[in-house]
């Protein structure tokens, strides 16, 4: 049975001083979830709310962006400023919001299909640009909403709707993909461990820069091949190994290989802000300006620029 949304655990609030007024109730929408019983999306839904509460953010102090897919059906099941866009396009929308208003956390929620099929280049360039946004990637290794087709993360040979004789394409390793691009934050969570997932979402939002958080989840309707029990047998938390060094890119890459018997979760890799400044801070004249680009819209005198044409 999947975990259902819960109030945050007290220990999550320990280092947050202004969180007292915000509760999970504030994030409740009158619209009830439509996911299949046992869907991993319930846990991700809960974790996003829990993490924002732990961060002391009110629903009007964040922007949540959704792709199209089962993940996107969360868009109106959570009370917040929400942008539900087009399939595969969640990252440029989130980037645009973050560039216009650098003062609010911007979270992009997407699935493995939209992220690694139609929108894969957006991931590549969002990582390169290091926009200050958080990607929460629902990885259930299939297209759920369109009734169970293969995605790039579906294992080769797996029989799927539209692949009746088994997927013939090689499987893409999403974690290694993100690590290969030297993303400034790469973490993994598992929907079977909500309290850990709460922490991962919170850490991903807190990281300044592009945060890649891949959430391993079961699709109870179309993916029985990588089910909850399969993951439970394999996942472990890297932070439990005190010697684990999240600045070691090669180690993170090696542990993320499909050939490993076990699957690492936790913060696999993180770069310091000084090594990986966010996009807006890479542009000197914007870094220096405390006002957001949304606040700066006003008529501007271009007389000085006109001089060159005289």
């Amino acid at each position: 049975m999947q975990p259902q949304p819960t109030e945050p655990k007290p220990n999550m609030n320990q280092n947050v001083t202004d969180a007292t007024t915000v509760t999970v109730r504030d994030y409740m929408s009158p619209i009830r979830p439509t996911w299949c019983p046992g869907c991993g999306d319930f846990a991700i839904w809960a974790a996003i709310k829990n993490a924002l509460v732990a961060l002391g953010k009110a629903p009007t102090e964040v922007a949540l962006c959704f792709d199209i897919g089962c993940n996107g059906n969360m868009a109106d099941k959570i009370n917040a400023y929400v942008f539900k866009g087009l399939h595969g396009r969640v990252m440029p929308v989130a980037a645009g919001i973050s560039l216009a208003n650098k003062n609010i956390p911007v979270i992009a929620v997407a699935g493995d299909g939209g992220t690694f099929d139609e929108g894969i280049h957006h991931l590549v360039h969002s990582i390169r640009s290091n926009y200050n946004i958080t990607l929460i990637l629902h990885n259930n290794c299939d297209f759920g909403l369109t009734t169970g087709q293969a995605t790039p993360t579906t294992p080769k040979g797996q029989k799927m709707n539209t692949s009746p004789n088994g997927v013939v394409e090689d499987r893409l390793n999403p974690t290694q993909f993100a690590l290969n691009l030297n993303a400034s934050f790469v973490a993994k969570g598992f929907t079977g461990d909500l309290s850990h997932l709460n922490i991962m979402v919170k850490k991903a939002i807190e990281h300044k820069g592009f945060s890649y958080l891949e959430v391993l989840q079961h699709c109870p309707t179309y993916n029985e091949f990588l089910n909850q029990a399969w993951y439970k047998d394999r996942v472990y938390k890297v932070e439990e190994d005190k010697s684990y060094d999240p600045t070691n890119l090669e180690m993170a890459y090696k542990l993320s290989s499909f050939s490993q018997e076990r699957i690492p979760t936790g913060v696999l890799y993180e770069r310091k802000e000084s090594d990986a400044p966010i996009f807006l801070d890479r542009i000197e004249h914007l870094k220096a300006n405390p006002a957001t680009l949304a606040e700066q819209v006003k008529q501007q005198d271009v007389s000085a620029l006109l001089e060159q044409f005289k």
Partner: protein
């Protein structure tokens, strides 16, 4: 041609042709002349045949002609191609003396009585201490002498452009002077022809305007218009002829405090702008036809989410890759119809480097007032040609962001997609709430690409969907009432009426001037706001169809088709060009005569 001169600089890409063209144009402006600078170049970086054509007149012009009076031929190909443009006899050609002239071309030079200067450009460049690179500067001096104008004016512009230390400035000035002195003969009657017989006084009001004015391209003017209108983000993927907007804004980003993002593709550029506009800034994106195709779904997204969105569609000859560095007006139907589903949009077409400056701000005002996508059309001809502009009245720019709820007005009960009479619902931005606890929790909304209710919650309820479709489509009527009628200019009871859009207006204005001198009465109905189509002024032409020519740079007559669809008025006389080249002034004159 009567009342104007044509100077052409021709050679291979990478020979500094455009820079030379702009220096001459600026110096001419300061001498009291209007210029129109038109560039032709193939899609390659080095080599090929590039031309910068400068039309010179004593009055405002915006068209090109077929004749050439002064040619700077930087390679053999250039003289071979352009010698035929001297068939009206006379004129001057300047070349490097190391470039051979074929016997066939020499025969035509003699036949057309062209004065051919084969100058030792390298010697002239280096004799004053300059480098071989300054051969171009020598040619500037040479061209200038053919016009018989004050050398100081040219030297001043050269000093400003090559402002890389005193030594370089001095060497360039010497090179220009050497070129100037190498020409012994001026163009016959330069002054006479341009003043229609009268010598310029140098102090007339018209001259005054030219002296204080700007030599600026359409894309530069568009970029400045965007900055002036408070645009804070420009996101784009390079594509001719929109690339020079990206270049200009990137160069001015620091000075103007804007963010310029070269995106990974046009889909990104569009979605990034929509996200940024949702968050409360003014973000612009620009592209050409192929990139615009990629943005189709984004335009639909802006439509249903009612997010203000302005996209520049810089037209070039298509389909597909087409003729990428050449011009066209083939994308009106694309601008009108791109993207799935039904939603209101506005299509604006600029005309030249003057109106584009103001229209940029207007495009954002419309996008924000009516919360819809605005397709802002320009053309290679407008974007990359240089116009002489009297300057811009920045006081005319007004920022109107439409119905915005301020942070303090929020109370948690507001509905982002509230049903209203105008179809426009007040908007506010993510991150905003008032001090009221209810606002802090509930002033949220879903900017939803799904059909949605007034709050933004997704819905499949037919009644709710119908109400929201009708609300959105109401905005088409609201915006139509807001838009101005197209401008009807010219004579009372005209014999000839041109109906047109885009760059054609400056060409038609030039043609009308000549037609009037020939005794014809000319009227021009010019469309800037293409959609929703205003038809009141158009109705005055009903019954006068036989006098009307619809002028367009496409095959189908897309504006004529639109007019027929909207009004039933069928203008069958068309002046069309669809070979990737712009109209020459002669094209219009000949079409009317025929």
């Amino acid at each position: 041609m009567q009342n104007r001169y044509t100077i052409k600089i021709a050679g291979a890409a990478g020979q500094g042709i455009k820079s030379s063209g702009i220096i001459i144009s600026k110096a001419l402006k300061r001498a009291g002349y209007y210029t129109f600078g038109y560039t032709e170049y193939p899609s390659l970086i080095k080599g090929g045949h590039n031309v910068y054509q400068i039309e010179v007149a004593r009055h405002n012009i915006g068209s090109i002609t077929r004749d050439t009076d002064v040619l700077l031929a930087l390679n053999k190909e250039s003289i071979d191609i352009h010698i035929h443009e001297f068939d009206k006899d006379g004129g001057i050609i300047i070349m490097d003396n190391t470039v051979p002239v074929s016997p066939e071309t020499q025969k035509l030079v003699d036949q057309y009585k062209v004065k051919l200067y084969q100058l030792p450009l390298l010697d002239l460049a280096t004799q004053g201490g300059g480098s071989a690179l300054m051969k171009n500067t020598v040619t500037l001096g040479a061209i200038w002498k053919t016009l018989g104008l004050d050398l100081e004016l040219l030297l001043n512009v050269i000093a400003e452009v090559f402002n890389k230390g005193e030594a370089i400035v001095e060497a360039n000035k010497k090179a220009a002077t050497a070129g100037y002195n190498a020409i012994t003969e001026e163009l016959t009657g330069f002054m006479d022809r341009l003043t229609n017989g009268a010598q310029p006084s140098g102090q007339t009001e018209e001259n005054g305007v030219v002296k204080n004015s700007l030599v600026i391209s359409g894309n530069e003017a568009l970029s400045l218009g965007a900055i002036a209108a408070g645009v804070k983000i420009y996101s784009s993927y390079p594509m001719t002829p929109a690339s020079t907007i990206l270049t200009s804004l990137a160069n001015w980003a620091k000075q103007s405090g804007i963010l310029v993002k070269q995106a990974e593709d046009e889909i990104t550029a569009a979605n990034m702008c929509i996200g940024a506009n949702f968050a409360g800034t003014r973000a612009l994106c620009g592209t050409s036809g192929g990139g615009f195709d990629l943005m189709s779904e984004s335009i639909s997204l802006a439509g249903i989410t009612e997010t203000p969105f302005v996209v520049v569609l810089g037209q070039r000859h298509g389909p597909a890759t087409g003729a990428p560095t050449w011009t066209a007006q083939g994308d009106l139907n694309l601008a009108l119809h791109a993207a799935h589903g039904e939603f209101p949009r506005v299509v604006i077409s600029c005309s030249d480097a003057e109106d584009v400056f103001y229209l940029m701000g207007e495009a954002f005002n419309i996008a924000e007032k009516f919360q819809l996508p605005v397709v802002f059309m320009t053309e290679k001809y407008i974007g990359e040609s240089t116009y002489t502009i009297a300057g811009y009245d920045q006081a005319k720019i007004k920022i109107d962001r439409g119905e915005i709820l301020s942070q303090d007005q929020l109370n948690g009960t507001e509905l982002r997609y509230k049903l209203t009479d105008s179809g426009v619902s007040p908007r506010w931005y993510p991150g905003q709430h008032s001090e009221l606890p209810a606002s802090k929790i509930n002033s949220t909304f879903i900017n939803n690409s799904d059909e949605h209710d007034e709050k933004g919650y997704s819905t499949e309820d037919d009644k709710v969907i119908k109400a929201q479709v009708e609300k959105r489509m109401k905005k088409l009527e609201s915006v139509k009432a807001y838009l101005p009628e197209p401008k009807m200019t010219g004579d009372e009871n005209p014999d000839v009426i041109f109906v047109s859009w885009g760059s054609n207006i400056t060409i038609l204005n030039d043609a009308a001037k000549i037609l009037r001198e020939q005794g014809q009465k000319v009227g021009i109905l010019h469309y800037t706001y293409m959609w929703p189509l205003k038809t009141e002024t158009l109705e005055t032409l009903r019954g006068k169809e036989d006098k009307v020519y619809v002028v367009e740079q496409n095959y189908q007559g897309q504006l004529a088709q639109l007019i027929k669809r909207e009004t039933g008025i069928n203008f069958t006389k068309r002046i069309l060009r669809y070979d990737s080249k712009p109209f020459y002034l002669e094209d219009i004159l000949e079409a009317v005569k025929a």
